[in-house]
Amino acid sequence: MRQNNSITQERARRSKAEADAENAFKVRLSIRTALGDKAYVWDTNEEYLFKAMVAFSMRKVPNRETTEISHVLLCNVTQRVSFWFVVTDPSKNHTLPAVEIESAIRMNRNRINNAFFLNDQSLEFLKIPTTLAPPTDPSVPIWIIIFGVIFCIVIVAVVLLILSGIRERRRKSKEPSEADDTEDKCENTITIENGIPCDPLDTKGGHINDAFMTEDERLTPL
């Protein structure tokens, strides 16, 4: 039995080497870039986890529920860390087509990333394009909201200024007529004494009575 297993493995490896170009995928990890100080070392246990995740993804594909961890083969692990992998089908003795593996990985990309604390950029499957997140567009673009606020404030301010200008102009046009009225009233109340009109007290501003002041006395001496 053991001999059978080893022969199977050997055949698998050889067939994988031939099929390397078509059905193999190169994977590249940038653990230190993603995790910095918390980076873990890539060892055989991590490789085992990787094989498990790939097998798990394949098992979700209809007709491939019997995929085992041992069907996933890794090779050429470098220090980068990068390696190639294939998924074999021992019963038929060939590697699974790339299209199936690609769609399986794409479906479960998030789970695989999370298992290693990585993301699409730090755990790269070189031939598998990432599905980009759809843009999060708010229902009303933000600029319209702020534009509305600013525009409303400006319009309200303009209207207020125009109204206050109109009010001021109305007040100015009323004032001279009111001043005229009071002047008329003043003149109507000129007191008459002995038939001679007296000048009412001039409250508009100091007037110097020239009859009583000489030129020199305009300025009070010290």
């Binding site: 860390v81 759809p134 843009p135 933000i142 600029w143 400006v154």
Partner: protein, 633 residues
């Protein structure tokens, strides 16, 4: 006596007496705000960088002393003395110079059209800065959602946001495209803001100017402090300010310095004349002129320090990312462990690999990463603000806040310049008394703003940016130089330096010194004439072109130099406009001669009049203009 207040404003300037500034600070801030504009931020640093760093200050200061300050003093003094807007002032000096005033108003109108369009773009960016992440930080997805938009991938996220999502620009100037709704909305908003501030003339701008003139300085200081603390800023400053004195042998440097000081002080627009006309008659305009001109130049320097420190940071950032990309290529190709090559080790590792496996390294097509190359990448104008600076802001922590501050600063800078532009249009119109006394000033300013808004809608077309560049490069500069030349000649020779000196004694209490008299009579006119001739020569020798954003261009995202049929006529148009304003004067002279010789009774106004006040009456203008309309002015 030279000390009388001056001819009374016949045309009703909105009341029985001329409005005045609330205090001297408002006047100073208004002039400073008008002079300090967007050019101080995005033109002066570019010139400094292109023309040998600190060495550029030498021609700049020489131009300031011999051309900028004397012309500026003339404008302030003549406005304060004659207490009119530009049309009134030049017509009062000599009827033959009336065209200069008209020309100033026209140029102010044209400049305000496209200046406010730039403010529209600034407002658009400002509105889009209130979100995180900023919209120009990532490319939008393409239709299939499998990758990013091709245009964005080929150029960059900031270029894409500017050319596609803001302007939606066409590939050719003759292809006008459609009006962009969002730009139209922002245009309406910015003209509404301008109207709000100029609604009552200097009463309202005087209040607004406290904020719009001082806020930019606050933001510049914040940016300066932040910029100097960013990595790579100091290297950038040192590299960009290191003087290269050899470059002074290139005459182009002197030409650009002279034109820069000229446009930086906003001379020959008539705005300073308008502002000075609201001053009390006795005001030391000599001190004002020197102060404002110096403040303007200091602001340019201050701004360029802030700008260079941010650009130095950006260059260091880009250089670092260039190195990182190369390092990633090397690590992936040679399977080195992740993060094994640091930026400092890169050079050593590269030489080692080049020695051992040169063919493999050559196949990688690594970029050449030199810090100087990134520092040399410069731009002026809208390219600096909307592409380079926005990208630099993306890499600063707290990017939306910095974007809001930056575009808020640009908006207030432009707004205070717009006040000067609008005043240079509105004040002469008010002085001419075109409208009846009962129509309030608010209506006139509203009509002016509405007319400008409707005319500026053409810049919101998809090809609007091309038209704006054409206007900026060809329409305004030539005319302004001619008007400034005529202004200084008009004051020094036509008005008479003796009479002008008497006026200045009356206003400031001191006779103008030999420096002023020499510059007004000889140096400034000569300089302006030289600049004009050199400008024409440059225009004639360089082929007329604009730089198109053409996605089909072989070397996209470089901009394609193109010469469209649609605008080869524009320098001809610009000179035609110039000739029009001078033709107005010629027309009046010829009509006078016709009247004197032939004697038509109607429409004959003989001048010079004994009573010069008739020259500013509206009826005279209507007659004079009616005869000249066929010239197409």
């Amino acid at each position: 006596m030279a000390c009388t207040v001056g001819p009374e404003p016949l045309g009703d300037g909105g009341g029985s007496e001329r409005p005045k500034w609330d205090n001297k600070l408002q006047y100073l801030l208004s002039c400073i705000g008008f002079a300090v504009g967007l050019g101080n931020i995005w033109r002066f640093p570019y010139l400094c960088q292109t023309y040998g760093g600190g060495a550029f200050l030498i021609p700049y200061l020489i131009a300031l002393v011999f051309e900028g300050i004397p012309l500026f003093y003339v404008e302030l003094a003549i406005g304060q003395r004659l207490r009119r807007g530009s049309i009134g002032v030049w017509t009062a000096i000599s009827p033959y110079l009336g065209g200069v005033g008209l020309g100033c108003v026209t140029v102010s109108f044209l400049v305000s059209l496209y200046y406010n369009t730039v403010l529209t773009w600034v407002l658009w960016y400002f509105l889009n800065s209130f979100q995180s992440p900023l919209p120009w930080s990532s490319c939008p997805l393409d239709v299939n959602r499998t990758g990013f938009e091709a245009e964005c991938q080929a150029s960059s996220t900031v270029s894409y946001f500017w050319y596609r999502q803001t302007l939606n620009i066409t590939a050719d100037i003759s292809d006008s495209g459609s009006i962009q709704g969002r730009l139209l909305a922002c245009l309406a908003a910015s003209w509404a803001v301008v109207y709000l501030c100029v609604i009552r003339g200097i009463e309202s701008t005087g209040k607004a100017i406290y904020f719009t003139a001082l806020f930019p300085y606050l933001v510049l200081t914040i940016f300066l402090i932040r910029g100097l603390t960013l990595p790579g800023a100091v290297e950038g400053l040192i590299y960009l300010f290191t003087p290269d004195v050899q470059i002074l042998q290139n005459p182009r440097v002197w030409l650009d310095a002279a034109t820069q000081i000229f446009f930086s002080l906003s001379l020959a627009f008539g705005g300073h004349i308008a502002f000075a006309s609201y001053n009390p008659p006795r005001n030391n305009c000599e001190k004002d002129a020197v102060t404002i001109a110096l403040v303007n130049s200091m602001t340019s320097l201050y701004a360029s320090i802030a700008v260079f420190s941010v650009l130095g940071f950006k260059a260091a950032n880009d250089h670092g990312r260039c190195l990182d990309r190369n390092i990633l290529h090397l690590i992936n190709a040679f399977d080195f462990p992740d993060q094994s090559i640091s930026r400092d080790d890169y050079a050593a590792v590269l030489t080692h690999l080049n020695a051992s496996q040169p063919e493999r390294v050559a196949r990688l097509h690594l970029e050449a990463c030199h810090l100087e190359d990134f520092l040399d990448k410069s731009a002026s104008g809208t390219g600096l603000a909307f592409i380079i600076f926005t990208e630099a802001i993306l890499h600063m922590p707290g990017a939306p806040g910095w974007a809001v501050l930056f575009f808020g600063m640009l908006f207030t800078l432009g707004l205070s310049s717009m006040f000067g532009n609008m005043e240079s249009i509105i004040t002469p119109l008010l002085d001419m008394g075109l409208t009846h006394r009962s129509i309030p000033k608010e209506v006139l300013t509203g009509l002016a703003c509405l007319l400008c808004f409707l005319s500026a809608i053409c810049f919101t077309l998809q090809s609007g940016n091309y038209w704006l560049e054409v206007f900026d490069n060809y329409a305004a500069p030539l005319n302004l130089i001619i008007f400034a030349f005529l202004e200084v000649i008009g004051v020094a020779y036509v008005y008479g330096l003796q009479r002008f000196s008497d006026d200045i004694v009356c206003m400031t209490g001191r006779r103008p010194s030999l420096y002023w008299r020499v510059t007004w009579k000889v140096v400034s006119p000569l300089l302006l004439l030289t600049i004009f001739v050199a400008y024409i020569a440059v225009l004639v020798w360089t082929p007329l072109s604009y730089r198109a954003w053409n996605t089909q261009y072989a070397r996209f995202p470089s901009r394609q130099g193109a010469a469209g049929d649609g605008f080869t006529g524009t320098p001809a148009e610009s000179s035609r406009k110039m000739l029009c304003s001078m033709a107005l004067t010629v027309c009046r002279v010829s009509r006078t001669l016709n009247c004197l010789l032939g004697g038509q009774s109607s429409g004959c106004v003989v001048f010079p009049q004994k009573n010069p006040q008739n020259l500013t009456s509206p009826s005279y203008w209507k007659v004079a203009l009616a005869g000249c309309h066929h010239l197409g002015s």
